[in-house]
């Protein structure tokens, strides 16, 4: 689902910002590899 959305976003030149399920390495890396326009990292407030 995420990959489909990201692929369409690239095709139509529409920025898609992804907020991962969690701020863990493997998830963030996966979405960076999908070339998301931006990431909103959750659970970073102190």
């Amino acid at each position: 689902m995420v990959e489909d959305l990201r692929r369409v976003a690239r095709l139509i030149d529409f920025p898609l910002i992804i907020r991962p399920e969690s701020s863990v390495y493997h998830l963030v890396r996966k979405y960076i590899d999908m070339t998301a326009a931006g990431l909103m990292i959750p659970w970073t407030e102190r």
Partner: protein, 143 residues
């Protein structure tokens, strides 16, 4: 001794009940027809339509275009989708209850600047640069 007026009244009442039943035949033919009739005749449908007419904002247009069901009708909509799915007809359930890549094209066509896919809340938000967003959740808890 039964009076003729009572018999006539009973006959008229029976005919009226039969006419009502005939009128409802289509709605009770199967689950799909029942669910469609439920959505058409639900009082919430009329209210939400009037509200949409009054609201000509950007988000109102998007709602009307792609999410043409009201939150109060989610259960009825679900029943319709379930009945369709039992018949092997999945054409509408994807659009209604899941994120669809075509949403992004709609957002762009409606002048939105970017979208946020919130996987923590399972929501998709369409936004403008000045931070006005409209969001939808996956499954039956959109808006």
């Amino acid at each position: 001794m039964v009076r003729p007026a009572t018999i006539s009244g009973g006959v008229i009442l029976g005919v009226c009940a039969a006419l009502v039943s005939v009128g409802r035949c289509d709605a009770f033919k199967d689950d799909v027809h029942f669910s469609q009739q439920w959505l058409r005749s639900n009082p919430g449908t009329g209210n939400s339509t009037e509200e949409r007419r009054a609201d000509q904002s950007l988000f109102g247009r998007i709602h009307e275009r792609w999410f043409n069901i009201d939150a109060a009708l989610v259960n009825a909509q679900y029943n319709l989708e379930f009945a369709l799915a039992k018949q092997g007809r999945f054409e509408t359930s994807i659009v209604t209850f899941d994120f669809w890549a075509g949403h992004l094209e709609i957002f762009k066509a409606e002048g939105m600047h970017y979208a946020i896919l919130d996987l923590w809340n399972m929501a998709l938000q369409a936004c403008r640069w000045w931070k006005t967003c409209a969001g939808w959740h996956a499954s039956s808890t959109f808006r």
